[in-house]
């Protein structure tokens, strides 16, 4: 014991997301641990800042999804200052947020999750990336992807002021309205998005669903776990990203809870482990039972698949069709196959595109009246949006001048900390035998993990953003017998 302690840890640090796999004497997986090695403490260093600065500060939690933090913060400020944005202001925010969803889901599917299927799980890592995808589906497809990203970032810049780390969100609305010329451009982008989303579903259909190997992989036991699911829904229990109630369904798919985001503290609690900086949220009313699934464990997932599980449908026609096909193929709700998340993501992409088009063509969208000036004393504000990686909640409390006295953040990926850990555990246990670990097996372990599109930038509110992942395999003696590093790309 003592010697261990005296070891100077600095020489032993790794700044990566770590998976520690321990094997027993027989070379079977004894246990796996998933670690997040950083913490920044936005909750603490934001104290003393004026609350209205939060949309501009918290978006630096993550450069991948700053728009999500920007919106959650702006919504928290609405409540904090007791002010309701004018209709145009609200719609502008949702339009902005839909454009963000289009670019974010596109990025993930093509640059990150996609490669596993498009290029194949056993292909060498050097090809398992966007360039590999381009190689497989053709350069014009690659350009399609790049242009979609580019166009939607332009929309984000027009409405939010900046393409990365937007600034326009304020309590009571947005700092600037859009004009007709800008609207026309946004409408065009939205139409392209719809076309692009449908084309993407087409590709998924061609390359994945028509390939029985992949389908078996998806529905196979390795990537299946039965947890609770969480997501935002509108008044018709349809998927909504910007606003609505939080709905939770149990592993059987029955509604377990439906609550206003402001009540998150009655419903969610966070558990701490000594080996990871990242906490483990769970359903308070069920309780923390450790890294296990099933009805008795408070573990819940918060992913595109989860959202499709909690929702009764999609709010737009084309997305609704895709939704129905998705369920039909996977045998109805709830879907427990984590790899199906990639498909669900494309269904959401289509919804986001359609919703974006609706808003871009809304006659009210160019109204100059996009902000209401608060008149009441700030108190407490809780704002929630559905971030691509999970339900994102910002909770602020201030003094009467609106200076922050308390900040609590429950961020997208954090929700999925426990299910991710479990997925890795299951995959590792199922794939690693007799101490044999190879690139392909490792990548399959990672696929479990990657489907969550985890963003540890958000999760730990820690840096770096998309954390390089390192898998370390120890033998029974505790010696490291294999060490593979992999990153989760944008």
């Amino acid at each position: 014991m003592k010697q261990r302690i005296t070891i100077d840890p600095i020489t032993r640090l790794e700044g990566h997301g770590k998976i520690e796999v321990f094997l027993d004497e027989r070379g079977e997986v004894a246990n796996t641990y998933f670690q997040i090695p950083e913490l920044r403490g936005f909750e603490v260093f934001c104290l003393g800042r004026p609350a209205e600065e939060m949309p501009r500060i918290t978006n630096r939690i993550c450069g991948v999804c700053p728009e999500a933090h920007h919106m959650a913060a702006s919504k928290a400020l609405d409540m904090l200052f007791h002010v309701e944005p004018p209709p145009a202001g609200k719609k502008l925010r949702e339009l902005f947020y839909s454009a963000f969803y289009c670019t974010d889901h596109t990025t993930h599917f093509y640059a990150l999750g996609g490669p596993d299927f498009v290029v194949g799980p056993d292909a060498p890592a050097s090809q398992r990336n966007i360039l590999g995808v381009v190689g497989k589906v053709g350069v014009e497809a690659g350009l399609k992807v790049i242009n979609t990203r580019k166009a939607n970032h332009e929309v984000i810049k027009i409405i939010g002021g900046r393409a990365v780390h937007p600034v326009a969100g304020l309590p009571g609305g947005m700092s600037k309205a859009i004009n007709e010329e800008e609207r026309q451009f946004i409408e065009k982008v939205a139409r392209d998005n719809v076309e692009f989303a449908q084309w993407s579903l087409e590709i998924f259909d061609q390359i994945v669903l028509k390939n029985s190997v992949y389908v078996d992989l998806i529905v196979g036991d390795i990537y299946t776990q039965r947890t609770y699911y969480m997501g935002l829904v509108d008044e018709n229990n349809h998927v909504n990203f910007y606003d609505g109630m939080v709905r939770v369904v149990d592993p059987e798919g029955n509604e377990f809870a439906k609550y206003a985001p402001q009540d998150y503290l009655e419903n969610i609690a966070e558990h701490v482990e000594p080996y990871s900086y990242l906490k483990y949220p769970y359903l308070k009313k069920v309780g923390w039972k450790g890294i296990v699934d099933g009805k008795d464990s408070g573990m819940y997932a918060c992913t595109p698949m989860s959202r499709l599980n909690v929702a009764d449908g999609m709010a737009t026609p084309k997305a609704q069709e895709a939704y129905e096909k998705y369920l039909a193929t996977l045998g109805g709700k709830p879907v427990h196959h984590t790899l199906a998340t990639h498909w669900a993501r494309l269904v959401e992409l289509l919804y986001a595109a359609e919703r974006m088009l609706e808003l871009a063509t809304d006659p009210e969208i160019t109204s100059p009246n996009v902000r209401t000036i608060p008149t009441e004393t700030p108190t407490v504000g809780i704002g929630t949006v559905e971030a691509p990686r999970g339900t994102l909640t910002h909770h602020y409390e201030t003094d009467e001048r609106g200076i922050l006295t308390k900040v609590n953040l429950i961020v997208g990926t954090t929700n999925n900390n426990a299910p991710i850990t479990l997925s890795i555990k299951k995959a590792a246990a199922a794939l690693i035998h007799d101490g044999i670990v190879n690139e392909g097996i490792l990548n399959r372990v990672e696929m479990a993990f990657r489907s969550y599109d985890p963003c540890f930038s958000c999760a730990t509110h820690s840096l770096p953003g998309q954390m390089p992942l390192e898998v370390v395999v120890h033998n029974a003696a505790g010696e490291v017998i294999d060490r593979r590093s992999q990153h989760c790309a944008l």
Partner: protein
């Protein structure tokens, strides 16, 4: 003459004494200091003064620099309000000092460490009293030693949990 041992004001001083950087305007306070000298008025040797033409030249960077480089306080002195040789430079200094004190307080620097005072060219006595007051204020507050705050940015010997706590923590894991 009594021996002044600053550790009586604040034990943290040990054997060192307060160091105050003074920024004196050429026309009033610097001459007040000259007069204090001509009149052989004794005061603590804690003040190390720098002459500027007018307190209007006082760039907050100078005060921050002084604290950063090891001073325990900074004293800015100019002509009395309404008597600035350049009409109103001392009002600009007043505004800057007000905002600087607020800003540095957020850095954990007590506002009394950064003070603004006036003395006309004829007020050698007032100048002397001011140095005494400032010195006493700093003596009570103790050393600032900013290098102490930033020298050890990185924990060279990291705060490792003790053996006991380690076992205890592990049992939670």
């Amino acid at each position: 003459m009594p021996k002044r041992d600053y550790s009586l004001d604040n034990p943290a001083w040990g054997t060192r004494r307060p160091v105050i950087v003074g920024f004196l305007c050429n026309w009033c306070s610097y001459r007040a200091a000259d007069l204090a000298g001509i009149s052989r008025m004794g005061y603590p040797s804690t003040l190390r003064d720098i002459r500027i033409m007018c307190t209007g030249r006082l760039d907050p960077t100078f005060v921050i620099k002084a604290l950063r480089e090891g001073a325990d306080g900074a004293l800015v002195m100019g002509c009395h309000p309404g008597q600035c040789h350049y009409d109103a430079g001392n009002y600009k200094a007043m505004r800057r000092m007000a905002l600087l004190r607020r800003t540095l307080a957020q850095f954990g620097v007590h506002p009394d460490r950064i003070q603004l005072a006036w003395a006309s060219a004829a007020q050698g006595t007032l100048f002397t009293e001011t140095v005494f007051k400032m010195t006493n204020a700093i003596a009570r507050l103790g050393p600032l030693e900013w290098h102490d705050t930033i020298d050890e940015l990185v924990p060279r010997a990291p705060a490792m949990p003790s053996a006991e706590t380690l076992v205890e923590e592990a049992s939670h894991g």
